[in-house]
C-alpha cells in the first residue's frame, strides 16, 4: 500500500512544481497551463506576439489560432460588406475616391473578403521598398499613421461598371501578404480574396457616391457586416 501512495504523492508534487516552473518560465506572459482559461487577447499579449515577429519563431498554438478561417453568412441585398474583421480606423473622402480603412489586430481573423460582387480586373503589388519613416508616407490617406506601404491591391469591377479596390496592407516588420484572387476571376460578395499574414489594414477605394453606414471606431466582421447600402 505504501508504494502506490508514494507514487501518488510524487505525482502531486511533480505536478505542483511543474505548474510553478511554467509560471516562472513564461512570466510576464501567461503559462500555457492557464491558456484554456484566458481569452485570445489575454492568452497571447501584444508584446509577446511582437517578440515572436522579431525572432521569427511563433508558438504553434498561436499560429493555429491565427490561421483560422471561419465560414461567414453573407447578407443578401444590394450592399457592400466589410472586407476584413477589425475596427474602422477611418473613412476618408477625397475628390476622386472614398477610402474605407479597417484596422486588424493580431487576434482578428486575417482572411480578407471582397466587399462587392464582380470580376477581378487587376491584382497590383507594391512594397518593393519598405519605408520605415512615417514622414515618407504622409499624405496617403490609406496609410495614415502607418509607415507600411507593403500592399497588394485587388481591383474589382461590378456588373454596373463601378470599380472598387481592396488594398491589403501590412506592417513593415510583417511584410507578408497572400492574394488568392486572380485576374478575370468572378467573385461573389463576401468571397475570400486573400490573407494578411500579420497586421495590419485593409482599405476599400470606393466611388465617392457610396455612403458608408458604419462609423469610425466600430467593429466589423468580414463578409457579414453591411457597411453601405447601394
Amino acid at each position: 500500500m505504501r508504494i502506490p501512495i508514494l507514487i501518488l504523492q510524487v505525482a502531486i508534487l511533480a505536478a505542483s512544481v511543474t505548474v510553478v516552473m511554467c509560471q516562472v518560465w513564461n512570466f510576464p506572459f501567461p503559462s500555457p497551463i492557464a491558456h484554456p482559461f484566458l481569452s485570445p487577447k489575454e492568452r497571447w499579449p501584444e508584446d509577446q506576439i511582437k517578440g515572436w515577429v522579431e525572432s521569427g519563431v511563433f508558438e504553434p498554438a498561436f499560429v493555429q489560432f491565427f490561421q483560422r478561417d471561419p465560414e461567414r453568412t453573407i447578407p443578401p441585398g444590394n450592399n457592400l460588406v466589410a472586407p476584413a474583421d477589425g475596427v474602422i480606423k477611418g473613412i476618408v473622402e477625397t475628390p476622386e475616391k472614398k477610402y474605407y480603412i479597417v484596422g486588424l489586430s493580431f487576434w482578428d481573423v486575417h482572411v480578407v473578403r471582397t466587399p462587392v460582387e464582380g470580376v477581378v480586373t487587376s491584382v497590383y503589388e507594391e512594397g518593393e521598398v519598405v519605408f520605415r519613416d512615417k514622414s515618407e508616407t504622409e499624405g496617403l490617406a490609406f496609410l495614415k499613421e502607418k509607415a507600411s506601404p507593403v500592399q497588394k491591391t485587388v481591383t474589382i469591377q461590378t456588373d454596373v461598371g463601378q470599380e472598387y479596390k481592396v488594398r491589403l496592407i501590412t506592417s513593415w516588420w510583417a511584410s507578408r501578404l497572400k492574394v488568392s484572387a486572380r485576374v478575370g476571376q468572378r467573385l461573389n460578395k463576401g468571397d475570400r480574396i486573400g490573407r494578411i499574414l500579420l497586421g495590419s489594414s485593409v482599405v476599400i477605394d470606393a466611388p465617392t457616391t457610396d455612403a458608408f453606414s458604419t462609423k469610425v471606431g466600430e467593429r466589423v466582421v468580414a463578409g457579414e457586416t453591411v457597411i453601405c447600402q447601394k
Binding site: 505504501r2 508514494l6 504523492q9 502531486i12 505536478a15 505542483s16 505548474v19 510553478v20 509560471q23 489575454e42
Partner: protein, 81 residues
C-alpha cells in the same frame, strides 16, 4: 512531552507526509490562481493583492485547521501520518 523531528513533517513511514504534499499543492494552486486572477480581473495590483491576501489567509487558516483535525482523528484512531 515527545520531540518530533522536523524531517517527520516531510517524510514519514517510507513516504511523504500528507500535510507536506497538500501544502506544496496548495501553494502551487495559489500561485496559479493569483496569476490567473491578475490577468482576467484587470484589478489594480494593490486591490488585487489585498483581496488575494484575505483569501489566502482564510484558506490557509482553514488548511491548518484541517491538518489539526486530521491529526487528532489519526491519533484517536491509532494510526500515524
Amino acid at each position: 512531552m515527545s520531540k518530533v523531528s522536523p524531517a517527520k513533517y516531510i517524510w514519514t513511514d517510507g513516504r511523504f507526509a500528507w500535510p507536506f504534499v497538500v501544502t506544496v499543492a496548495y501553494f502551487a494552486a495559489a500561485v496559479f490562481l493569483f496569476d490567473l486572477a491578475w490577468r482576467v480581473m484587470k484589478l489594480p495590483i494593490d486591490e488585487l493583492l489585498i483581496a488575494a491576501s484575505v483569501v489566502f489567509a482564510v484558506s490557509f487558516a482553514g488548511l491548518l485547521l484541517a491538518f489539526r483535525m486530521f491529526s487528532r482523528g489519526s491519533k484517536r484512531g491509532g494510526s500515524s501520518s
